[in-house]
């Protein structure tokens, strides 16, 4: 069977499952006795096994199968979860990820067998009694085919509550038939949920389904193996149901048992997957206890919260980009209509343009929203990373994250991962001290790193904060002098901010020894470049002995922004509106010289002046004497700067376009935009100009 059409779905879903596995494993490590978590891990491993098997990725299936064995033993309390076991499970996860990577890249899972990991898994399992072995064997055959002995007692799979029992009793009193129907789907069935839906429809033609195990919602989400059991009340005969069901394709087996009132006395309760693998009777009590434990854990927020299942469509990002481009074009033509000269501007014309304006704005918002992705997708790989780093460094580090739901444009999400990894590694390696050192400083032994994301106006702020030793400003200054970045005399006059800025210079490292994790001197400059390329900026706050905080400020949207168009001689430039603080008129006498820098006084603040025509080398036709100057006051972080322009054209929504591959790396220009008249205006990069 040709599976190629399903492979993308398989990859996407596997990624999600592996991510879930990752999170569950981390939680399990925190709390090794968390039965709910073990069950969750088992469920994910099992789903992956089923999916891989269906797709014919046998190595992956076998691998998850062996994982399942160990997890099963864990579930049965035969072995205990400890950090060693979790380590092995993490290795399994890595192996599965590399299988998936191979599938993504080449379409096949590759030749790697990971025999070492499999052997370790076997050894873990091998510690158990033979009885368990037997049970595990049963467990492993669970998906292969449920044994008929178990199928003969389908009612045992179903927990019937008091209400349902009442309904059944009522029905029986009324001489209706009550059946438990267990349907086993074919292994090759690809759309289990759809098949189950067809079966449900068929059953509902003749009767009423009062109970389904697993739950209907879970079946709809394909959260079941290949079998499910329903209880149906109907007037029709058993034979009719058998005939009806057997006419549906992709069903391996149908077992229909009539239910008598005395067979459901309540002793028969237990859960599906447990029943299948455990002999009845002896484990029942255990199980109830387990269930109780599980329930109490379930309430804990965030541990096993069921993923939201809305109606969604997966869309290729390229299609969204295309849609975005079209919206951009629409905005350009709208602007053109607004500026159109030589047409009679009737009331109705203006109304129409205004309406168009409203629609394009809404449309832009809508498309932007579609492109927004919660930052969670980036954040959720960090707990694992910090865990690995802390093991490697022998430091105890606790990572707390907040604001994972904060949304950012997809393009930003794709780019922001690496800078954040750099910052987190930096904090873990340089920021957080060794536990002895922390103890001496009177701090808790475990270091804290917190990663926060939140929205502030048109920006998204991401903060990486640690409670470590803070930046050693003296050392940085020393290093800067050593490297000739600043003279000995000048160094004394540097502000804290100036000193901090040195750490963003290329190949600047103060680490005495180079570790695997950081200290090679590549990093922070890359972080800065990357963030600035995204139109954002990085700031640092630090306090010796208390810790440091890296603050990343990112624009919410990338493609379309509000900008102020200005004229410099005859050239038009756009300044992003969110960088502009205010616009003031000054006279040439207002400009003073301070340390060879032109400045103005703005409400007692010294604001440096940037003469854009000089900086941008705008061709000057003749020296003109202006009595009145316009200064656009822009902010870069907490610094202000005044850009001198010749005149203002006005505020406009502009579409940011790149200058193209050839012109990458041009300072002071952030991009270009097409104006309503078809001409090009360049967008100023406030960060590098100010």
């Amino acid at each position: 069977m040709d599976m190629s059409q399903y492979i993308e779905i398989f990859i996407e879903e596997s990624k999600e499952h592996l991510q879930a596995l990752n999170q569950s494993l981390l939680q399990l490590e925190q709390n090794p006795n968390d039965t709910a978590m073990i069950n969750e891990i088992f469920r994910v491993a099992h789903t992956l096994k089923g999916m891989a098997g269906t797709m014919g990725f046998n190595k992956m299936a076998r691998f998850t199968h062996d994982m399942e064995d160990v997890l099963q033993a864990l579930r049965n309390d035969e072995i205990k979860a400890n950090s060693n076991l979790v380590d092995v499970l993490f290795k399994c996860l890595d192996a599965l990820e590399s299988y998936l990577d191979n599938i993504v890249n080449s379409g096949s899972e590759g030749d790697e067998q990971y025999d070492d990991i499999l052997q370790v898994l076997k050894n873990l399992k091998g510690n158990n009694s033979t009885e368990l072995e037997f049970q595990l064997k049963n467990a492993s055959e669970e998906t292969a085919a449920a044994s008929s002995a178990l199928l003969a007692e389908p009612a045992k799979d179903v927990v019937i509550n008091q209400y349902e029992q009442n309904v059944i009793n009522k029905a029986l009193e009324m001489r209706m038939n009550v059946y438990t129907i267990t349907v086993v789907l074919n292994k090759g069935c690809l759309l289990k949920a759809a098949r189950a839906f067809i079966i449900f429809q068929a059953l509902e033609k003749y009767g009423e389904i009062i109970k389904s195990e697993p739950k209907v919602e879970d079946i709809e989400d394909e959260k079941f193996d290949f079998r499910f059991t329903v209880i149906v009340i109907s007037k029709e005969s058993k034979e009719l149901f058998a005939k009806e069901l057997n006419s549906i394709a992709e069903i391996d087996e149908v077992i229909i048992n009539p239910l008598e009132s005395d067979t459901i006395s309540g002793e028969t309760r237990s859960k599906t997957d447990n029943t299948l693998i455990k002999p009845m009777g002896q484990v029942t009590n255990n199980e109830d206890a387990d269930e109780g434990k599980k329930d109490s854990k379930d309430i804990k927020p965030g541990t096993v919260s069921k993923p939201k299942t809305g109606k969604t469509v997966r869309v290729d990002i390229d299609r969204l980009d295309m849609l975005m481009n079209l919206v951009s074009e629409l905005i350009i033509i709208k602007t053109r209509l607004e500026e159109l000269e030589g047409v009679e501007r009737s009331q109705r014309y203006n109304e129409a343009v205004e309406y168009l304006e409203r629609i394009t704005t809404n449309m832009h918002d809508a498309v932007m929203k579609v492109r927004m992705v919660p930052i969670e997708t980036v954040f959720n790989r960090f707990p694992r990373m910090i865990r690995d780093i802390s093991k490697e460094l022998g430091k105890e580090i606790i990572l707390t994250m907040s604001g994972e739901e904060t949304e950012l444009d997809r393009t930003v999400i794709d780019e922001i991962g690496d800078p954040l990894i750099h910052l987190l590694r930096n904090s873990a390696d340089h920021g957080i001290e060794s536990s002895e050192k922390r103890k001496r400083a009177g701090k808790p032994e475990a270091g804290n790193i917190s990663l926060r994301a939140y929205q502030a106006g048109n920006n998204v702020i991401i903060e990486v904060e640690d409670d470590g030793q803070g930046l050693n400003l003296e050392q940085i200054k020393h290093k800067a002098i050593e490297r000739g970045l600043v003279s000995q005399d000048m160094a004394g006059t540097l502000s804290q901010k100036d000193i901090i800025d040195f750490i963003f210079r290329p190949s600047f490292s103060t680490a005495d020894k180079i570790t695997d994790i950081s200290g090679r001197g590549v990093g922070l400059d890359v972080v800065k470049t990357k963030i600035e390329a995204l139109g954002g900026m990085v700031e640092v706050e630090t306090e010796p002995g208390k810790g440091s905080k890296f603050i990343i400020r990112l624009p919410l949207t990338l493609a379309i922004i509000q900008a102020l168009l200005v004229l410099i001689n005859k050239e038009k430039y756009a300044i992003p509106l969110n960088a502009i603080k205010e616009i003031i008129n000054i006279v040439p006498e207002d400009i003073k010289m301070v340390q060879k820098q032109e400045v103005i006084l703005l409400r007692n603040m010294v604001v440096p002046i940037v003469r854009l025509d000089k900086v941008l080398a705008v061709p000057q036709e003749e020296e003109k004497v202006q009595k009145q100057l316009t200064a656009v006051i822009v902010k870069k972080g907490d610094k202000l700067s005044g850009f001198l322009v010749d005149s203002l054209i006005g505020q406009q929504e502009i579409v940011i376009k790149s200058l193209g591959k050839l012109l990458v790396g041009i300072k002071c220009i952030a991009g270009a935009t097409i104006l309503g008249d078809g001409n090009v205006a360049l967008i100023l990069d406030v960060n590098s100009l100010a």
Partner: protein, 148 residues
């Protein structure tokens, strides 16, 4: 030449700079445009004239005369911008005029040894001869490397 199959032949867009004729591999040429408004881009090399809006796309424009350190001339009705694309780099080149498209046989193209030209040897890929004319074939990959 004794009837060489056309598969051995390559097509070149021939353009003029001053009196000399130059050829560009037609595979790399996207379109040829008339002169249009160029928005100057500051802080870049002198032979980048700026960018144009070509049907909604921003395309950087290189002045070949400046690139080859030739004296600049006033633009005429003949002045053209040849838009080329190499890998994912798109660039327009200002030339004095576009002449024609010629087909050159593989063996009528010679290397650049013992050849003198107005422009630096670095940018020349070879020399083609067609009907007694000499066409200098340009090395585009080298040409679009900025800062060399």
């Amino acid at each position: 030449m004794d009837g060489i199959a056309s598969s051995d032949a390559k097509q070149f867009v021939v353009f003029k700079l001053g009196k000399e004729e130059y050829g560009l591999d037609i595979q790399k040429v996207t379109t040829i445009e008339k002169m249009m408004t160029i928005a100057r881009v500051p802080k870049t090399v002198n032979y980048i004239k700026g960018v144009i809006n070509l049907r909604g796309e921003i395309i950087p424009i290189m002045d070949l005369r400046t690139r080859f350190k030739m004296a600049g001339i006033e633009e005429t009705d003949e002045t053209r911008i040849i838009i080329i694309k190499i890998d994912d780099i798109v660039v327009g080149m200002i030339v004095d005029a576009v002449v024609e498209v010629v087909q050159l046989q593989e063996d009528s193209i010679e290397g650049v040894n013992n050849f003198s030209s107005d422009i630096s040897m670095d940018y020349i890929h070879g020399v083609g001869k067609a009907d007694g004319r000499i066409i200098t074939l340009l090395n585009l990959e080298k040409l679009i490397k900025i800062g060399e």
